[in-house]
Symmetry: C2
Subunit: 380 residues, 2 copies
């Protein structure tokens, strides 16, 4: 198979935003792109057909979850994750480092890797950076991520420095092992860490650049650090990265942050926000966020968002959606997820259109002014 390529299509002339395309063995990913999260091999509360109809170009699966269940033997016998889950488009697999540090008990970071207990049955597991690449080689996902190490916010400089060094050292081992596999159909991205410390972030990026990854991700962000600091780090990092490689901002999901990050040159995003919020009855609209549990919607005949073309908005009232949510109907999760994911993917279509027509800064300004000036408030 041909090595997947990344090509920039339009470079915005007023910002670092760009449109591009990652040509994978499972179809193109036009960027900026959003990867719906399907940790266990499905986007929660949707069928693949719906995910596809909503316009997703790729989904994210989680190597940690799939390694635990159904396990590598099953995935091997089923000839890789695309065949196992029957999703024909691109798949990005996260290493699951985040889950190892956040979900698993007894996690300990060693020089050679990380030891932890399965959050499912307590089984003790030790994974090296090579193991994590190997797992994703077996998955066969189109884009794979190395094992990294991040510290929570806030962390001391010394903690962050040590974690960043480990991330760099593991990145080297991951890249060496990956190169030895000659898995030409897969892309391996490097992950920049460094906490909120500018010099550590810079060093982390430089370490990765020496290894020449297929793309570069920014990790350890969106953990509660001030927004100004967050954007400074993204800006500093992307401006140190080569233009010709895709950039991926991991786990950042607020649309107002995404739009700013696109302006700073980020190409790829993933987040559980639209799907998780949907299941919790919080819906994104062009006017702000709507919480279905509010009694005011009990007889509200309007759709969630009068400007939205999704199946849910074209057919169902807030009153019905509130009723389904209050009754904990599974259908509530389906209809809400359809809306939220359509809303996200539609914003990404508009972002790509705006960049293509050299009107992205205007789009961004309008978007932030209209939608999210009262981000923490709900509309009436």
């Amino acid at each position: 198979m041909m090595k997947p390529t990344f090509k920039i299509l339009v470079q915005d002339n007023q910002s670092a935003a760009r449109t591009g395309v990652i040509n994978t063995a499972h179809g193109p990913i036009y960027t900026p792109a959003f990867a719906p999260v399907g940790s266990q091999g499905t986007v929660k509360a949707l069928t693949h057909e719906l995910v596809n109809q909503l316009g997703a170009q790729l989904v994210l699966v989680n190597a940690y979850h799939l390694f635990l269940r159904p396990g590598l033997e099953v995935i091997k016998k089923m000839k890789g994750v695309h065949n196992f889950i029957s999703w024909p488009k691109a798949i990005l697999s996260d290493s699951g480092g985040f889950q190892i540090y956040s979900l698993s008990p007894l996690t300990k970071v060693h020089e050679e890797g990380v030891s932890f207990a399965s959050h499912l049955d307590g089984a003790k597991i030790f994974l090296t950076p090579q193991d994590v690449v190997e797992i994703q080689a077996i998955l066969g996902s189109d884009i794979i991520m190395p094992l990294d190490y991040f510290t929570p916010y806030p962390s001391s400089y010394e903690q962050a420095k040590s974690a960043t060094q480990k991330t760099s050292s593991w990145a080297r081992e991951s890249k060496e092992y990956f190169s030895s596999l000659n898995n030409n159909h897969q892309l391996l991205f490097g992950i920049g860490q460094g906490g909120t410390f500018s010099d550590l972030r810079q060093k982390s990026i430089e370490d990765l650049l020496e290894l020449d990854f297929d793309g570069y991700a920014l990790g350890g962000l969106g953990l509660g650090e001030p927004k100004s600091l967050f954007f400074e780090i993204v800006s500093q990092s992307t401006s140190s990265l080569p233009l010709e490689k895709p950039r991926y901002l991991m786990g950042v999901g607020y649309l107002e942050d995404i739009v700013e990050a696109v302006a700073l040159g980020v190409d790829l995003f993933d987040c559980v926000l639209p799907t998780r919020n949907a299941r919790n009855g919080t819906l994104f609209t062009s006017q702000g966020r709507l919480r279905l549990k509010r009694a005011q919607y009990a007889t509200d005949e309007r759709p969630i968002d009068e400007n939205c073309q999704c199946y849910t908005c074209q057919h169902f009232s807030r009153a019905y959606l509130r009723h389904l949510f209050e009754r904990s109907e599974i259908t509530s999760a389906i209809l809400n997820t359809i809306h939220n994911l359509y809303f996200y993917l539609d914003i990404f279509r508009k972002i790509r259109q705006a960049i293509s027509s050299n009107s992205f800064l205007k789009f961004k300004e309008d978007f932030l002014k209209k939608s999210f000036k009262d981000k923490e408030n709900e509309f009436a």
Copy 2:
């Protein structure tokens, strides 16, 4: 609006089976027909679009559930249940009597109606037969059911007799009240009771016939009575009913029972079996039942049923479906429900075709021989 009509299309010449059509204000229901259960106004784990694509001609909603939540005020403001739930096809509403007797605490049956506490918040409620018609008049469903009273199996003759008398007396009050409403777009069915006692069943039917309902339902069956007794009662009851009115066997859901009941002249069925079993990981196939939890399916690349044309069988392996089920993914409920409901509705299509082509007895024989000889066993 025109009064809905029932028309027999083909009368089988070897059995009491027939095809027909109930023309409702919300489209035709070709019979024999299966009503997927959507008690709260949605078929669990599906969108209406999917229910429609699977070939459902009507759905069943539950007046008791909708009366409790969202409540009649909401339904009134939303202009009836069709508009509230945005389902354009026919709706049959069950009175909810079964739920009052089985779900609610403190239920007491009086001469004038039934008192009970809401299973949701304990609120004390008293409903007369007139109230139950009134609730369903507000719902605006196409077919409505009166309040009835059944006794569990086994019950003494005296208990069953008393319950049957009450059912007859409430049927009269229901019919009188319904007639006074002049709700021409709705059909009111009578419900026959009588436990497992032949003379009580006969008397119950005769009482209903005097009142000239738009259709006749058989209630209080499938409660654990022997199969032979069950079929005797169905046979006796349908042969006492006028040919020109639709017959509805309430809550009976095993396909082998349905096929036999069709041969005895039943037109309409509803049951939670296909949808509930789907959520529990039990799938119906042309070879028998398949339980996804079994370890043998972990690497089974075959679809649930190789003869099935549903979305789930056309796209996904048993291995993947087992994984989703084991992980309690909502998508598991969706994909399993698509399969089971498709399987049911497809059998009904085949039943109608077989009757139309005067080959129903042959169909029934083949169906029972092939599929369910080992009803309680799973296939390998």
